[in-house]
Structure formats: structure tokens, C-alpha cells
Symmetry: C2
Subunit: 145 residues, 2 copies
DNA sequence: CTGCCACTTCAAGCTGACTTGAGGTCAAGA
DNA sequence: TCTTGACCTCAAGTCAGCTTGAAGTGGCAG
């Protein structure tokens, strides 16, 4: 009961078959064999795909994830990498929080034009100096929800 | 004293000349004329570039920014769009915060393997259901800092 | 036995925001 | 006047993470 074909994996994981093939090519997952032409996966692929999804959600690239998940069986995830990523997230969160406050203020403030609102101007000036570089890139994403 | 050439604009704004040409092509900025072949910009381009940087930091695409900045002179920024974006940021921040907590826990927890840590497993399972889809994509960015 | 059709491979295309390269122009300094 | 070199245009390349398309294969229902 541990053999799944690609459509079954796709159905259970929500990951498209094309993506599964792509992940296999990249070395992120492995099929345990073939039935004719068709890939056969072990049931634990589902957990592994969840791990990959988690890694992506945390902001790791597929390559980074590949390195962390490299050893078969129990993935040996580098705790330091997790700490580093957590800190990175922390910085991002701070920037986004500042942005959010600024946006809310700008949206609500009574100045006739945004360019006359001191708070907005402060934001603009900060952005001009690169203070928020790469703070977001979030939002206009391939969001499902 | 309001005429700047492209290298001056680049120097003052930190935006590469190639990007300035690209922005002009996209209609995000305008040059006010030419000196020979060379573009000449009005000094207020600097503010406009800051606005563009702000928009990007907030997660707007260049196209969205173009729409908001469309009218010449005072940019008429849609306050509702700002509110929407703020809310979007809020959702992102929440997800990232959850991720961050999870990462920290996983990094510090004493379970022999991550797959035996209940907190980590909860995170993994949540990621598997798509709960964090598009939550990050931040982190491994073109960060300058 | 035969036909269907889900699967396969491989190459190419897509999005967004740019960068890079080849080949051309022209204002200004020597 | 001539050279320099910063600027120009236009096309193509880059990166990540996939998706799409064309053409082929083979297990299984009928």
C-alpha cells in the first residue's frame, strides 16, 4: 500500500504532475521505480512534498531545499540555517510592518495630496534611499487564496 | 537647474541608467527632452523614482504603479488600493510570523529528528495543505543590505 | 487483439523586472 | 578637426519555478 502513481501523488498532495516531474529532475524527490513507463512513488513522498512546501513558504529556494533534504530518510536540516532564515524573516516582517503602517496612514490621512502628507513623504524618502529594498515582493504573488 | 542627464539621475537616485530607460519605455517616467541623443530629465524625476521604489517595496507591480502614477503632476493614488495592499501585507506578516516561530522552535527543539518534533510536524502538515502558499517568496531576494 | 488514453520525454515558452551586447551617434575637449 | 566616450536603440539574455506542446509508449478494458 505504499506505491502511488503520479496522478495519485498529485491528487493527494495538490502538486501538479508536471511539477512532480520537474522536482524529480531537480533531485528534490525520487520515484522508486516504474510500472511500464510510469513513475511509481513511495507513500512517504507526501511528507517530503510537504517539507518542500514548507521550505518554500519559509523562503528557501528549491536548491537550498534540495541541500537540506539531500540525505535519504530523515532529512538532516541544518538548525543554523533555520535560525538564519528565522532572522531573515524577522527583518522582512519588520519592514513590512513599517510599510503597512505607512500605507494605512497614507490611505487615511487628510492631506489634499499624498505629496503633502508628512508621513507619506517620510515613507517615500525612506524608499528612495533604498531602506525597503526587497522588503516586499510579496502581495502580487501567485496567491491561491 | 531642473535639468538632469541620465547619469546624474542615476547617481542621485541609485537607479541604473538601463533601468531608467526601461521605466521610460514602460511609461513610468518621462524625459522632458533631449540634448542631442541624450535624455534630459526634470529634477522632479527623483521624487517619482522614490514613489516607484515605495510602490515596489509595498508589493505593487510596475504596472500597478504605472496606473497609480499615471496622471502627471500630483500622483492620484487610490486610497482603497493602499488599504487593500495594507491588508495584504497584514496577511503576509501573519504568515511569516507563524513561519518564523515554527523555524525557531524547530531549530531549538530537542527532538532527535525534526520529523519527531510535534511542533515541526504541525508546521509541515500546515504547509502541505497549502496554508502558507505564497507566504514568503521573500528572503532569497535581490537584497542589497 | 486492439484501441484508448494516461502517462512518458524533450524542448521550448512563460512572467517580471531588468541587464547585457552589438553597433551607432554626437557634443565637447585637445 | 579629430577623437573620445558617454549616451543611444533594439534585440536578446537572465533568473526561478514551472507549464505547455508535440510526438511517442504501453498497460489494461473490451
Amino acid at each position: 500500500m505504499s506505491a502511488l502513481d503520479i496522478s495519485e501523488v498529485s491528487k493527494r498532495s495538490g502538486v501538479p504532475a508536471s511539477t512532480l516531474r520537474y522536482y524529480e529532475e531537480k533531485g528534490l524527490i525520487r520515484s522508486v521505480g516504474r510500472h511500464g513507463l510510469k513513475r511509481v512513488f513511495d507513500a512517504d513522498i507526501i511528507d517530503r512534498l510537504s517539507l518542500i512546501a514548507l521550505g518554500q513558504a519559509a523562503g528557501f529556494s528549491l536548491d537550498e531545499i534540495g541541500l537540506m533534504l539531500a540525505p535519504e530518510g530523515a532529512p538532516q536540516i541544518d538548525r543554523q540555517a533555520l535560525l538564519d532564515k528565522a532572522e531573515e524573516l524577522d527583518r522582512t516582517i519588520r519592514k513590512l510592518t513599517t510599510m503597512r503602517r505607512g500605507l494605512l496612514h497614507a490611505a487615511n490621512c487628510g492631506a489634499p495630496s499624498h505629496m503633502e502628507c508628512p508621513t507619506f513623504l517620510r515613507l517615500v524618502r525612506a524608499a528612495g534611499t533604498g531602506a525597503y529594498k526587497s522588503a516586499a515582493k510579496e502581495g502580487r504573488g501567485k496567491l491561491k487564496a
